[in-house]
């Protein structure tokens, strides 16, 4: 049994300690924001925050999470009351199919918590582990810039202005 915090709630999870967090989130807790993309840690669709850092939940075993704080995109806000990063993605209409976007939001949240004023290059490097196949990258970057401003910081040298 593993004890951890998920979106602010203490949870005790029974089961195989080798089971990756992603399946516990999706199958046990019906938290669907984190997506299965590859199961290999290559695409970032499953990204969540663990103690504020971006983690690929498809390859993170429950055994590694005892006592830790997991935050999924559900914990950042809801459709009626979106969090700052979610609102920025909505404002920029930064999605096509949207499958990768919860992972992008988690990654952007982690970046801006750690560094409210990253450089453009640092922002792109931070987002690099997440793949998007629709080619929504330019909008995702605009949304991260917008979120940075909304959260009181900003991108130091934006390649494109915040629209």
């Amino acid at each position: 049994m593993i004890e951890l915090t998920i979106n602010g709630t203490r949870r005790r999870i029974e089961g195989d300690p080798a089971e990756p967090l992603l399946y516990v989130l999706r199958d046990n807790l019906r938290l669907h924001a984190a997506k299965f993309g590859c199961g290999l840690g290559q695409c970032g669709s499953c990204t969540v925050l663990v103690d504020g850092k971006p983690v690929q939940s498809c390859i993170t075993p429950m055994a590694a999470l005892a006592g830790r704080e997991v935050m999924t995109v559900e914990g950042l806000g809801s459709a009626n009351s979106p969090g700052s990063v979610q609102q920025a993605f909505i404002d920029e209409q930064a999605a096509q199919c949207g499958y990768c976007i919860p992972g992008m939001i988690a990654r952007a949240e982690a970046l801006l918590r750690a560094d409210p004023r990253p450089s453009e290059a640092a922002m792109r490097a931070a987002m690099r582990p997440s793949l998007c196949r629709c080619g929504t990258h330019m909008r995702i970057l605009r949304a991260v810039r917008r979120a940075a401003v909304a959260m009181g910081g900003g991108i130091v040298d934006p390649a494109e202005p915040v629209s």
């Binding site: 559900e74 979610q86 949207g98 990768c100 629709c134």
Partner: protein, 748 residues
């Protein structure tokens, strides 16, 4: 009083429009459903009606009005992330004169919506949008006609506002009460006018996409997220890649693994089912260790493009023109080609199926629920009416990927457990290994310019397999070939002009006095291929627009000026001029290893006009290319959603740069060797353009022109042309990787 002025008088954002019938027939023309990719589409029964109304002329196929006056709109097209779920609502709300929030949309569902074939070919607004616009105009007219009888006044004295029909004396009736005594099971009339452009509230304006907030906050937005009581998860068991099979799979051993509730077998088809995913994921590791063999003829070694070029062909001359002109003084002959490409959905294909009381329901991200249903009916020996396929979103597909195959896998698994829903998802390795690839292609062009710097002659031949193996029968589905019932795939077919498959966009829009353009259709298909966004347009536009630059160079002309010199279509000219102006084409920054490139096409020569300009900087030591800017201009006719249009064009450019610069499916003798994102790398954030802008040339009142695939070809060409400008080296074989740039520079 104009419509605008009336609206101002009334305030509140409502619309007031008087009714009048058109003197002549309306309007917007439809086209072949799905850009020619589908088969077995319903026949046109009302050829005088626009869009898909020609196949489904009855209004209640498209629109129903509830007693409370709210409208439900039905489309046979699917939301694939391209935003039509909101764009179609904008059209309906405008033409019905209802607030946007009082209109809801039902998408592709064989139980509820018209059969509009495949959601492909950038046809959704052209076909379904046009049908819905005109059906809505008809419904609004019928409601007014009903009110006219009620009030005892002439219909042309009435107006509508926010779900009410109003008379001049102030009497009004709600849509709900009028619809209660009105049958919408009547054919659309071709003479009902759509609203005047100035009276439209939503078309042409940005409305936030309805699907985005749920997707960003964890709602069950995708078929992958569906849960149902008693649902079982499932994985399919097959060889590691297309063209292989397991030699001696030990299914008993699999069935004994913890968490596996049962193994379903039908002939060589096998799937394992269990209540939770993690045990299935672990069991798939055991499957991955099972011995396998190639089941098809060994793949030839070397570049498979050369094999496609060498196979026997069914040539089809699609353009032959022979006007007497000046002779060529300079000629360029070149081969341009591309490798096999992958759709590469970020989420593996997935479906949910439920077999209950002898009926099957499948929730699927297939682009064609009706064709899938028909193929499933043959496979499962069921009448089609006992199968219902309902579209649910998946990860973006960009063409025919594993969606239909996984839906079949789920259906076969579900048949073994009646009453229990089954969610079957492919693994990443299966998605990479089994999806039908975008075909490898070879083009050979030869062209010459005369003494006046005009193109005198042009030949273009394009070698390609088919660009659609979308299912129309059981043998087109992977599992259909595994169940041991002798099903065979449909014979490969070339999609004919004017849509074209391998020859899509092989005919340039430029003025060519002498030209021979030939589709070299290659029926034999050594690798499973099917529709990838843009079909042949990506290759052909790359080739044509590269050749145009090569000719401009020998004619010592500016590439943009050279294009304009050979164009007559004023809309093409305006798109190119708009982009050249906004991009600052005439005033390039002169710097070593920096260059600008231009590309243009009208998608299918019937869809949106799109020009792309790209500026790159090359690092000569490594050949690495940085895209400094990528801008586009697009004319998609009447723009429903300007931001939605920009989103599609932006995405197309980025995706096309990924295809063109980075991607290639590789093979050994037994199988494709691309099985994940490390063996098939795609563009990441560190390589996307530094800046991008899309300029929309709106044409209010003009027909919608499909734009979803419009930027793939122009972006590929602009990228190649920019590299040629920056380095002096012309790369003609995709992908245009850093290594190829470096080698070209080293070989100078």
């Amino acid at each position: 009083m104009s419509g605008i002025a009336r609206r101002d008088v009334l305030g509140g954002g409502g619309l007031v429009v008087l009714f009048a019938l058109a003197g002549t027939g309306i309007a917007q023309e439809g086209g072949t459903s799905g850009g020619g990719e589908g088969t077995g589409a319903p026949p046109e029964v009302a050829p005088g009606l626009p869009g898909s109304l020609a196949e489904f002329p009855h209004l209640d196929a498209w629109i129903r009005i509830a007693p409370d006056g709210a409208a439900t709109v039905f489309t046979g097209k699917a939301e694939l992330g391209q935003g039509i779920g909101t764009a179609l609502l904008q059209i309906a709300a405008d033409e019905l004169d209802l607030p946007l929030e009082r209109v809801k949309l039902i998408t592709a569902d064989t139980g509820r919506t018209p059969d509009e074939g495949i959601t492909s070919g950038s046809q959704s607004l052209q076909n379904s949008g046009t049908a819905i616009a005109n059906a809505a105009a008809n419904v609004r007219y019928l409601l007014a006609e009903r009110a006219a009888r009620l009030f005892g006044v002439a219909v042309d004295t009435l107006s509508t506002v926010n779900g009410f029909v109003r008379a001049r004396d102030g009497r009004q009736a709600s849509y709900g009460e009028l619809a209660a005594s009105l049958s919408l099971h009547v054919e659309a009339r071709p003479d009902v006018r759509r609203k005047r452009v100035a009276a439209r509230d939503h078309i042409g304006r940005d409305r936030p996409r309805r699907d985005i907030p749920p997707k960003l906050t964890g709602a069950a937005a995708y078929v992958h997220d569906m849960t149902m009581p008693g649902m079982l998860h499932a994985r399919v068991i097959r060889g590691p890649a297309e063209g292989t099979r397991l030699t001696a799979p030990d299914f008993d051993a699999i069935a004994r693994l913890p968490g596996i509730e049962r193994v379903v077998r039908v002939g060589d088809f096998a799937a394992m089912l269990g209540p939770r995913e993690w045990p299935l994921v672990q069991a798939m590791l055991a499957v991955g260790r099972m011995p396998w063999t190639r089941s098809e003829a060994p793949l030839p070694q070397g570049d498979l493009r050369d094999m496609i070029r060498a196979l026997s062909t069914e040539p089809d001359v699609i353009l032959m023109r022979d006007t007497v002109t000046l002779p060529s003084v300079r000629r360029v002959t070149a081969r341009y080609d591309r490798p096999y490409l992958m759709h590469g959905a970020i989420g593996p294909s997935c479906a949910v199926a439920l077999w209950q009381d002898g009926e099957l329901t499948v929730w699927t991200h297939s682009q064609g629920v009706y064709p899938l249903r028909n193929a499933l009916a043959e496979l499962l020996d069921l009448p089609p009416e006992r199968i219902r396929c309902i579209h649910r979103e998946g990860a973006g597909c960009y063409g025919h990927n594993g969606a239909d195959d996984v839906a079949t896998d789920a259906a076969l698994a579900a048949r073994a457990v009646p009453g229990r829903p089954v969610k079957l998802m492919w693994t990443r390795e299966q998605e990479h290994g089994w999806e039908p690839l975008g075909p490898a292609m070879v083009t050979e062009l030869s062209a010459g310019v005369d003494a006046n710097g005009r193109i005198a002659e042009w030949t273009h031949a394009v070698w390609s397999n088919t660009h659609s193996t979308r299912p129309s029968q059981a043998g087109d589905l992977l599992a259909g070939l595994e169940v041991g019932r002798g099903f065979a795939p449909s014979p490969p077919r070339a999609i004919p002009q004017p849509n074209g498959g391998g020859d899509r966009n092989a005919i340039p829009l430029y003025t060519l006095p002498r030209a021979t353009i030939t589709s070299m259709f290659v029926p034999q298909m050594p690798v499973r291929v099917s529709a990838l966004r843009g079909l042949g347009a990506h290759m052909n536009v790359f080739a044509i627009e590269s050749m145009i630059d090569e000719l401009a160079a020998v004619a010592k002309s500016d590439p943009v000026e050279f294009r304009l010199r050979h164009l007559e279509d004023p809309r093409a000219i305006e798109v190119i001029r708009t982009l050249a102006d906004r991009f600052g084409w005439a005033r390039p920054k002169r710097e070593r290893w920096r260059g600008q490139g231009f590309g243009f096409a009208r998608y299918k020569n019937s869809g949106a006009y799109c020009a792309v300009a790209i500026e790159v900087r090359i690092e000569p030591e490594t050949g690495a290319t940085t895209v400094l800017r990528a801008d586009a201009a697009v004319d998609a006719g009447e723009t429903v959603s300007p931001d939605g249009l920009r989103n599609q064009i932006e995405g197309g450019i980025v995706q096309s740069i990924s295809w063109t610069a980075h991607e290639e499916v590789r093979f050994d003798a037994a199988r494709r060797t691309a099985f994940d994102w490390s063996s098939y790398p795609i563009l990441r954030f560190d390589a996307v353009p530094l800046q991008m802008a899309v300029h929309v040339v709106d044409r209010p009142g003009q027909p919608f022109l499909g734009a979803g695939e419009a930027s793939q070809g122009p972006a590929a060409a602009a990228f190649a042309n920019a590299i040629a400008r920056a380095t002096g080296q012309r790369l003609r074989s995709m992908p245009l990787t850093a290594e190829r740039v470096r080698l070209a520079l080293a070989a100078r």
